[in-house]
Symmetry: C2
Subunit: 492 residues, 2 copies
């Protein structure tokens, strides 16, 4: 174990059975950090959206793995030669698609530290720090977004998983069913139904499929003109379903829908849930972060009544993917739904400690809290507020450009950092307008400096600009806007 050989010479591996010696790791690590620093520094010279054809990257890989170890230099070189051409750069300031996100510097380094610890916090004792740092940092986050205490917080990989386990708890919360033991096909089992809006994320419907409720077990409630759940329609749907034999059990409301970032009227939804005995889940995966701003705190109104709420630090809180925060008002229901302790994990040590494996179906849990801890501490709460406020300001700026141009229209309110809009032309059909907007988007994205996405609103093709990267500045939006205007002109 010496530093005589660098990672490119690699004689360490010929006779050695172990890992890299620490000095080899140190040198390879410094070089990787330099590669990442250079990547971020030059990211604007790369096209945001990968320009390759399907199969191109796969064909550039050898068909078989190397029999003998390769030098570290090869690995780094292939990041440039093999990987980069096929990367769509989510960490690029011109990435304005889906939800713009950032892997911030402290987040990236926190991820490396988590990998080095390699802990699995299935039981408290299998890494107390992993469990307790998660609890502590999530309590910070809870306070930052103004949820009342106490809430039980845990980190999962994605909002899809957070919503899935929350709805598993909801399913178990129905008195007298005991789905956990008997399953949904047991004799006498009613058909369970959950409610979410037409604008809800597909993960709600996927959760229903996984949970055995089926797509028929989800009733999608229409939205109002601002894409918010129509509460009167929810009320009527629940009553109607009860009358026809369904058993309503949960509502998933959205704070910040994927298409338009609309906010469902959670206080009114919560009132219906309370009256009807329904579990209230809130998907605030994107917009929850906005609640760090006093002026945006309204978006979580009513969420103090939520049985479960998910918000994703990997979306708009500068933490690398993946990290989704799930807050529970009654964690014991989730534990009752999913706790199973095999003999080899029974322990008499620390009987009252929290074993996070009891709150999910995944036994493995990595040390996700470090990156969130490092991001919050590096930027500070006021620094995070300033950055999120800036993204909202940039969105207002962009929306003002769109509004001022008769060739475009803003088609949904802009409560946060995402703008839905479309190009318009006088005297063309709706179908022709859709086709032209699709071509406008393709033309803008082909340029390589920005990447925008689209959605459909009431069936109409709609363009989206979503701001969430720490390096996005007004100049990037200006590029997008100039490209949009010229692409529109190219269409007639």
């Amino acid at each position: 174990m010496s530093g005589d050989h660098g990672p490119d010479e690699a004689p360490w591996e010929l006779g050695d059975l172990g890992d890299w010696p620490p000095e080899v790791f140190r040198e390879a690590g410094h070089r990787t950090v330099d590669w990442v620093a250079d990547y971020v520094a030059r990211i604007e010279t790369l096209p945001v959206l990968a320009q390759v054809q399907p199969g191109e990257i796969l064909r550039s890989l050898p068909a078989n793995p190397p029999e003998h170890g390769e030098s570290f230099g090869n690995l780094l070189a292939d990041l440039d030669g093999v990987v980069l051409p096929g990367v769509t750069h989510w960490n690029h300031p011109g990435f304005l698609a889906y939800f713009g996100i950032t892997a911030s510097g402290p987040g990236i380094l926190g991820e490396m530290v988590a990998a080095a610890f390699n802990t699995n916090a299935m039981l408290w004792r299998t890494s107390p720090s992993t469990t307790e740092l998660e609890q502590g940092v999530l309590d910070w986050l809870r306070g930052m977004i103004g949820l009342p205490a106490p809430r039980f917080g845990l980190l999962t990989d994605t909002a899809s998983t957070s919503t899935l386990v929350a709805l598993a708890a909801a399913r178990e919360s129905v008195p007298g069913l005991d789905v956990r033991e008997r399953g949904l096909s047991a004799p006498g089992m009613p058909r369970l139904r959950l409610y979410t809006s037409m604008e809800a994320h597909s993960s709600v419907e996927k959760a229903a499929i996984v949970l055995g409720l089926g797509r028929e077990g989800v009733r999608k409630i229409p939205t109002d003109s601002a894409f918010r759940m129509d509460v009167a329609a929810l009320d009527a749907a629940v009553r109607e379903d009860r009358a026809s034999g369904w058993l309503p059990f949960a509502v998933s409301a959205t704070v910040g829908t994927t298409s338009t970032t609309s906010v469902d009227p959670v206080p009114a939804v919560a009132a219906i849930c309370a009256r009807e005995g329904l579990w209230l889940h809130v998907d605030a995966a994107y917009a929850g972060s906005a609640a760090v701003l006093p002026e945006k705190r309204w978006c979580l109104a009513g969420c103090e009544h939520a049985d479960s709420l998910v918000t994703n630090p990997h979306k708009w809180l500068f933490v690398p993917i993946d990290a989704s925060a799930l807050f529970l008002r009654r964690p014991e229901v989730l534990r009752r739904a999913l706790q199973l302790v095999p003999d080899y994990l029974q322990t008499s040590a620390a009987p009252d400690a929290v074993n996070l494996m009891d709150y999910g179906f995944q036994l493995g849990r990595r040390f996700r809290a470090i990156k969130l801890w490092w991001v919050i501490r590096t930027f500070g709460v006021e620094g995070i507020r300033r950055r999120i406020a800036e993204h909202c300001r940039l969105a207002e700026v962009f929306a003002s450009w769109v509004e001022a141009d008769p060739g475009f229209e803003v088609v949904a309110p802009v409560p946060f950092s995402t703008i839905c809009f479309r190009a318009v032309w006088p005297g063309i059909t709706a179908a022709e307008r859709d086709a032209r907007n699709e071509r406008v988007l393709e033309r803008v994205n082909a340029d390589g400096r920005v990447f925008l996405s689209h959605t459909k609103l009431c069936g109409v093709y709609t363009l989206r600009v979503a701001i969430g990267n720490l390096r996005t500045e007004e100049r990037h939006l200006r590029v997008a806007w100039d490209l949009l205007r010229s692409a529109r002109e190219g269409e007639g």
Copy 2:
């Protein structure tokens, strides 16, 4: 954006709205790499099992997040002062509990690169390299363990998730049910049942709970004297269940059970599955890696018939948690079970490309393939073989010590790198022996140099030594063995 200020001075953040400038990242990154290199170099000076009491780490955190950003030096200092005392060091060579694992150097650095890219490969176009590198590297892994081509491979977070989605596909594969649309409580829906052994991992039962089958939807088949599924009992159970109205639909066989690493007789199980039309899932989360060795290739016999097979590179392939490889023979069944494409993800680009979001319930997918790619290329296939063979050799050495000592007995075959054994004393009751073994384990683990785990076999308390860390050498096993012998003597 300059390198004038280091991460400890942090004036960059006072007026800046962005991320760290690249030069600040570079300096903080080098310091973090140095911290990790030092951590690994001194890891043997730290107690493997955390010595803290529940709540101790949580209480050492401030109740509220910092309003203003802190220096990077604080963050690094708190790794030592706050985090380390509560870490159970899974990356320690004396970690012999559960399944010993390694976050190898290239794996740690690959994780950092993945975090920097921060891609989400939901669609092919949202990062072609993430999708295609995953396909390419998993095809390498498929060949390395001798599974026939073609297989569709994908990476999930954990074996729990791999098994869950595989069983969701199994559920959808039953003709005429359409669980995806109708749910399990639809009129006329039969009660589905799956089969796994008494020794199977709890994730199979948890998957059944999540999927709405309930614990009653899992029938646990007894095992033989070597803890392998009793195929005659499986056969009888399936027939009996059909006769009494259940609809058998899947078997989950295990290659390398968690307690003893026993291997179910997959060829015979596969024959039953073929005859009965059951989906065959194989959980080879731990032992799949052993199949890189020609002399261990037998363990995957019959697995060419598996509809789905999971093996975890984060277990015994030196990749940091999390990375679970799922191989599918008929990926279209999984896609049919879980594909849902919302409007905002509909794209006419690359219509034939693989969109990995279609093969799971999690929309978010990070760039897990890089670390696996880097590990395979750094060690080479022969280097991986040598290392896994060494772990198996170490297990034989340890088992030989246990066998040679009349105060101990080996209680299960040792096909791989895990030894199940217990201390014995003449003339005591079984209950007393259990109690003494439990105290022996506590005493050994309290020393701090090694960490062993336990299980129960046929209800009897059993000690386990599991070898899988690249830094584990015979001297660590010698420490464990000396501690075990002296702890046994301390019990009488």
